[in-house]
């Protein structure tokens, strides 16, 4: 039983905690959380003639994610164009995550095995691009990939290709761009995991005649697994919701879900569909984050 004084202290602590947090909570309710609830409502309304909505209940917004109404017969048909966009979003995001891991792991390993004094500098070098403007970094990639850009100049200079490769405004360009802009999000959690790794385990393994491949697969990867999961989710989530990168590097032809949502609000004039797509994206992201939280908790409870 807590004493009366202690109970009072707990109440006071809670009261002050809530009071001090209220201004932040008000702003977040008005301009972050609250608006999401309105999007849920909008996803169940009827589209207006010129955008916006008519306040009549309808589930067509959600149905419209996978099916579209034939303009002549009014029958619902599987919407191939939508499926293409979803598949592109998911496959590009998975490829981005995978490739970011393949190059990010050696990078994180490299940083973690530097002498402590150097380490801060390498980390700083990884962090700087992460905090600089995403649009500018995407635009920098756009310039590099152009027909007359750095990539083609180098490739042709080396004699690897005769004619410039026209990669800009393709899915490859989006893939390269997303890997470029989200790579730091993979390296940082990987570094955190590897940094905690006890290198004595490696010595033990080598002393027991393990091969390099066995050491990597049996010892390093299982131990840094939480970092791998964290990094993968941190890259996959923003990739799936990407808007700027596909727009600047995909040139409007290679849409991803983010651009498809924009289209519904600005040109497609189907706000309920746009609202339903937004909620779908949010649900996928939340599911990914739940997986992350579960893994993170399991990792910590087992030491």
């Amino acid at each position: 039983m807590p004493s009366q004084a202690e109970a009072r202290a707990i109440t006071a602590s809670a009261r002050n905690g809530w009071l001090l947090s209220t201004p932040a909570l008000v702003i977040l309710s008005l301009a972050a959380v609250g608006p999401l609830l309105i999007v849920v409502i909008y996803s169940f309304l009827t589209p207006g003639q010129h955008g916006n909505v008519v306040w009549e209940f309808s589930t067509d917004g959600w149905t419209g994610i996978l099916w579209s109404k034939d303009i002549f017969t009014d029958e619902w048909m599987l919407a191939d164009a939508h499926l293409t966009i979803f598949w592109r979003s998911v496959s590009l995001s998975l490829m981005t995550t995978l490739f970011a891991f393949v190059v990010g792991f050696p990078t994180a390993w490299f940083i973690a095995t530097r002498p402590p004094k150097e380490r801060a500098l390498w980390l700083f070098l990884i962090t700087i691009p992460f905090w600089t403007n995403l649009l500018i970094r995407t635009y920098a990639i756009n310039e590099v990939l152009r027909k007359e850009g750095l990539m083609n100049t180098v490739l042709m200079g080396l004699g690897l290709t005769d004619a410039p490769i026209d990669v800009l405004y393709t899915q490859t360009a989006i893939f390269i761009g997303m890997t470029y802009v989200y790579l730091p999000l993979m390296v940082l959690p990987l570094f955190a995991a590897i940094d905690r790794f006890d290198m004595k385990l490696l010595e033990a393994a080598y002393d027991l005649y393990a091969s390099r491949w066995q050491v990597l697969r049996r010892i390093i990867l299982p131990i840094v697994k939480p970092g791998i999961i964290a990094g993968s989710i941190l890259v996959f989530v923003p990739s799936l919701g990407a808007y700027v990168t596909p727009r600047v590097l995909g040139g409007g032809k290679q849409m991803m879900i983010g651009n498809f949502i924009e289209l519904q609000f600005l040109q497609g004039k189907n706000w309920p569909l746009g609202a339903a797509l937004s909620m779908l994206l949010l649900l996928i992201v939340m599911a990914a984050l739940l997986v992350y939280v579960r893994y993170a908790n399991r990792g910590s409870s087992h030491g």
């Binding site: 001090l20 947090s21 932040a24 977040l28 008005l30 972050a32 490299f110 801060a120 403007n133 002393d207």
Partner: protein, 278 residues
């Protein structure tokens, strides 16, 4: 630590190919940015052919009223958003750190970190819908004058800046020594005096770091601004996004370079402020 490995002639932590990959990654990370900066000094109109060094594109950007307006607007929004978000984040950090756990604490954490989890495009369309509704309502009650102005953008930016301001302040609070505050209280300082004279000065580096991070985040935003702004309310990033649809000239590179420069200066200051004393 790696002694026995070294005895056997190799370092255990060295994996063949890893160092090379890492170096390639670092080069690939910086090369595009350096190229972008280099071409901002290009004398020719091309983004590919080097025509000699020149500051023409900076002069041209400087004379461009749209760039000037957008820059000013970006700075105004970022300043307001940083001050508002840092103020409320400091209060929230004081309310949720260094005290007994209380019911609803997790809820407060989730709310504060929410902008980090929700895809920007989702928040962007949500705000577009809500602000649209608010504007219709304001017009209907005869307050149409309130439908324009930067208030909407400032509110939106302040909201998504809160977690970025909150994290460094909270980290600073958690690392702070309680004894000074206890000493102050023992010497009959009122709670307010203790806060004003002891806690706040100790917390100041965290607050400044949080404000700088919020400022940078606001300055960089393009998606939410693109959906929330009314006509003629371009910020620097949305202006640049609009220009990217048209014929590109190194003027964009000059504008980008200036924005990058500002960000790097603020970030370097941030790192120096939050660096742990060793």
């Amino acid at each position: 630590m790696a002694k026995s490995g070294a005895d056997r002639g190799f370092q255990v932590a060295r994996v063949p190919g890893f160092a090379i990959t890492a170096i390639v990654v670092f080069v690939a990370l910086y090369l595009p940015i350096f190229t972008l900066v280099a071409y901002s000094f290009n004398a020719s109109t091309s983004l590919a052919v080097w025509g000699g060094f020149s500051l023409d594109w900076y002069a041209r950007a400087w004379d461009n009223d749209q760039v000037k307006d957008a820059t000013l607007r970006s700075l105004i929004i970022a300043s307001f958003a940083a001050v508002i978000s840092t103020t409320v984040a400091t209060m929230a950090a004081l309310g949720t750190t260094r005290r007994r756990d209380f019911k609803g604490q997790t809820f407060i954490y989730v709310m504060i970190n929410q902008p980090l989890m929700v895809p920007e495009i989702v928040t962007a369309v949500a705000l577009m819908i809500v602000f649209g509704l608010v504007k219709v309502w304001l017009t209907s009650i005869g307050m149409g004058g309130l439908t324009t102005g930067l208030g909407y953008l400032i509110l939106a930016h302040a909201a998504f800046c809160i977690p970025f301001a909150y994290l460094p302040i909270r980290a600073r609070l958690e690392g702070m020594d309680l004894t000074l505050e206890t000493a102050a209280a023992d010497l009959y300082a009122t709670p307010w005096q203790t806060f004003r004279r002891v806690t706040l000065p100790l917390l100041a580096p965290g607050i400044i770091a949080g404000a700088m991070l919020a400022f940078v985040i606001s300055l960089d935003d393009v998606v939410i601004t693109e959906f929330v702004k009314s006509g003629g309310q371009d910020t620097l990033p949305t202006y640049m996004l609009g220009q990217m649809r048209r014929q590109l000239t190194p003027e964009i590179n000059a504008v980008s370079t200036m924005l990058l420069g500002l960000t790097v200066v603020l970030l370097t200051a941030f790192f120096l402020l939050t660096r742990k004393k060793t």
